[in-house]
């Protein structure tokens, strides 16, 4: 391995290249996309547990009416950190981890375009995570504003708010660098013969996602910067007395925030677009329309932001415009759903764990998408805004959508990463427990929301008690089921049946042409791209 790590310029000896470091130094200094991908994935899982533990605090407090375990302030802090950690610490890094592992292998590149910067993109995450979690322990506690950080409430917060602001800055830097890396890799490092329209869909979703990130993260950075100066330097962006407007923050935040939700969803679509064809043993249906749909979703996502702000008093014309624009997104998303369905149609289906998670994704994401459509109708949203209906909606698209898709990808590529097959029985258990408990946890929240239970409250009126108990049981069940995946991964890393280079007979793509586990450096020279491997 040491020898190969120099092949980029073999024989050309560098004064400070004392070989490939081992132990912790390997991970800290690595420029290898696989190492970095693994670090992203581990980091993301740890953050998932931390964020999940916070959600369990939330669910425990909500188990029955009355205040039981935590104070309202602490509840708000948990709620904020849960969301920030899950979104920025768990789901996004998980897909960046996939991108790091798979994109170079899928397009036949030796590594990411900027391997050293890639390492920095990862190592920026721990400082941000430290700032976020440490903020619980500073005077005044963490930000208790919800992940949306709306002023003037966020102006009132203590220094935990500043820590969250800087964490967001650092996360933003990480995302922007990571995205520039991915865009450049995809645009510039494809093996000869792989045109953009022959590129695997996962790469397409990431190309658009990276564009969304580069365009929207700086906007968020701007928003929190204004928040910071309003807090400490006497500016008045968000204060009416000075001529500003608290609602301005919401516009800027959601101009970032809505693309952000597709940043979470698109790579998930990408993974599923690989898993479903593989286990249907049939090429992906409608590749070209998939690509256009991804691009359309990415584009439209910049023009719908105020559907989060229907009750802020924006003018009627604004409400109407944003309602129509939001509805429009259902069309390209629908195209994707229909394409997946048709891919399975007349296939030769088997149901290994990746396929189960992809199917779970399909069913539950569609539910979440359809409730999103209900929310898009301004008049209905005015009833549902800031209720548990919204909470149910976004957990369907983010947990059952993005997280399930991430699991599908994990099980799908684990043999390639570790060289071992995972334990299928445990995998199936993991899926079914997740599927069942997820729905127990979140389906009743639709009813709670319809009946009028507001979100972000630590205590509630009695008529909401029953569904909250059910939801709590589901959440705990779901949470503890997730520990199974740890067992599965440890087992596969340690040993198990050896995986063939193409462990799934229906899978296509360059990544399946290399041995399992994939060698430390996959393609030192651009590989030959065979049409048969197109559109994996």
């Amino acid at each position: 391995m040491q020898a190969t790590s120099h092949t980029g310029y073999a024989g050309h000896h560098d004064h400070d290249s004392h070989g490939h470091p081992t132990g912790w130094k390997r991970w800290v200094t690595t420029t290898n996309h696989k190492d970095i991908g693994s670090m992203y994935l581990w980091f993301s899982f740890v953050m998932f547990l931390v964020g999940g533990a916070m959600s369990l605090i939330i669910r425990a407090e909500l188990f029955t009416p009355g205040l039981q375990y935590v104070s309202p302030e602490f509840y708000n802090q948990m709620l904020t950190l849960h969301a920030l950690i899950m979104v920025f610490g768990a789901i996004m890094p998980a897909f960046v981890g996939f991108a790091n592992w798979m994109i170079p292998m899928m397009i036949g590149a030796s590594d990411m375009a900027f391997a050293r910067m890639n390492n920095w993109s990862f190592w920026l995450l721990p400082p941000a995570a430290i700032l976020l979690t440490a903020s619980i322990f500073v005077p005044g506690g963490a930000a208790g504003t919800g992940w949306t950080l709306y002023p003037p409430l966020s102006i009132q917060m203590g220094m935990g708010m500043d820590m969250a602001i800087f964490a967001v800055h650092i996360l933003g830097m990480s995302s922007i660098m990571g995205s520039i890396n991915i865009v450049t890799t995809i645009l510039n490092m494809r093996t000869p013969g792989m045109t953009l329209m022959k590129m695997p869909l996962f790469c397409w979703t990431w190309l658009v996602t990276a564009f969304l990130l580069i365009a929207s993260m700086p906007i968020l950075a701007g928003a929190v910067t204004m928040l910071l100066t309003d807090r400490h330097f006497g500016t008045s962006f968000f204060s009416a007395a000075g001529g500003g407007d608290p609602v301005l923050f919401q516009h800027i935040f959601w101009f970032f925030g809505h693309p952000e939700v597709y940043i979470i969803a698109l790579p998930a679509f990408g993974v599923v677009s690989h898993v479903i064809p593989a286990f249907s043993r049939k090429p992906l249906f409608g590749y070209v329309s998939m690509v256009y749909a991804i691009a359309a979703i990415g584009l439209i996502s910049f023009f719908v932001w105020a559907h989060h702000m229907y009750v802020t008093g924006i003018p009627l014309t604004g409400q109407l415009y944003f309602m129509y624009a939001t509805m429009l997104i259902a069309v390209p998303t629908g195209v994707k759903v229909f394409n997946w369905v048709t891919t399975m149609w007349r296939g030769s289906l088997t149901f290994e764990t990746p396929m189960l998670f992809a199917l779970g994704f399909l069913v539950l994401f569609t539910i979440g998408g359809l409730t999103g459509l209900v929310l898009a109708m301004t008049a209905v949203d005015i009833q549902l805004q800031d209720t548990y209906y919204v909470v149910a909606h976004f957990h369907y698209v983010m947990v059952a959508g993005a997280l399930f898709s991430a699991y599908a990808g994990l099980y799908f590529w684990l043999p390639k990463w570790t060289g071992h097959m995972y334990n299928e029985t445990l995998g199936k258990w993991h899926f079914w427990l997740s599927m069942i408990f997820f729905n127990i946890a979140f389906f009743p929240q639709h009813f709670l929301g319809l009946a009028g239970m507001p979100r972000r409250i630590p205590d509630y009126a009695q008529q909401f008690a029953d569904f909250n108990v059910i939801s709590g049981i589901g959440a705990f069940g779901f949470g503890f089921s997730q520990l199974l995946v740890l067992v599965v991964v440890f087992q596969a890393v340690k040993g198990g049946a050896r995986a063939a280079s193409r462990p799934w007979d229906g899978a296509h793509g360059l990544e399946w042409t290399v041995p399992s586990p994939a060698p430390y450096h996959t393609f030192e020279d651009p590989p030959h791209f065979d049409q048969a491997e197109a559109h994996g």
Partner: protein, 435 residues
Amino acid sequence: MLTFAVGKKLERSPLGFFLVRFRERQGLAPMFCHTAGGEAGGEREKMARNSNSKGGSNRLRRGSTGLFIAGLLGLFSSVANAAWELNLQEPATAVARRVYELHTLLLWVIVVIFVGVFAVVAYSLVYHRKSKGHKAAGFHDNTTVELAWTIVPALILVAIAFPATSALVDMRDTSEPDLTVKVTGYQWKWGYEYLTGDAAGVKYMSVLSTPREQIENKAPKGEHYLLEVDRPLVVPVGKKVRILTTANDVIHNWSVPAFAVKTDAVPGFLRDTWFRAEKEGTYRGQCSELCGKDHGFMPVVVEVVSEERYAAWVGEQKQQLAAVAEDPNKVWTLDEQHALGEKVYTTNCAACHQANGEGLPPAFPALDGSAVAKGPQAAHIEMVLKGKTGTAMAAFAEQLSDTDIAAVVAYERNAWSNKLGEVIQPAEVKALRGK
């Protein structure tokens, strides 16, 4: 009906058994039959409960997936039944009814789409399996169907855009109200001020009235736990009420589900909304925008009364206004002031600084022993008048009269261990106001 069947079933299932035990232990009302929103719902509910005690399938025996399916079915049945626990609260205005119907329509649309799509999936899952020996076809493109499933959903969306638009236009039409009330959100209470109509000039605060012990599980929870206030908003039935919202500190949201009203109260701006309640009754909602620590504890209660009762209520308010009209030149004694101050403190300050004056440091400082509360009077009064920008300490100049501020400051300086024994005359506050 099925909804309740599910409820009953749940009670009998192992899970339900646990739930029922659990609820008994917590001293909560029986399962699956509580009242929300208008009191009017009680009657129908009882009927529903009776009719479902028989009947029901053993769907739930099939374990937890059954629960999910039951939940789904419950959702559908709710449309037919309008059983409010699984659906929007019973509408009490024409607008709310339109929203309700719009939601029902949408629900059917998405259910049909969902069922349609997943019927196809289910067919594939059953018949196109490898284990059944099905061989994969090789097709991967078909422009016709791809166009069809782009255009058909688009048409569906266009179709639902029409009712969605007209319902919204209705909702936003705040013109020609019979009565206008300004609603101000404070951390964490509502201020109501009648701007027009007979009650013009009436102005008061509305605070959660659920006792602390209930919240802390030291006493059984009442029927309207967390949804009750000391002084509700009172409006006449059948009149168009325009609500102007604003806030004093952070963004709040004034919301009453039965009226389909939900509008942010943004500090420094006025927003408006309206409702015309059709039936007398008490309608309950909650602040619906995270506004800090006690966001979950600032309910909205609207009392809709007949014209006569409204007139009587207005009369009462006017009388009280006249009676309370303060004599700014009255000279206060220590005891008098202490008593008034305690009252003002409890309603306005205790949420943050706590009844015992110890606050919740570091977010909310203790006043017991505080340097400000034991320091010069002027600084203390100014703190209360002007608040401190960038913190939760709001300016109380607008909310409280000179008499109240004098009283509360004096109270803080005398209570707990502060014991300065001072009396502060309203005139001293007045003198500081202008500055």
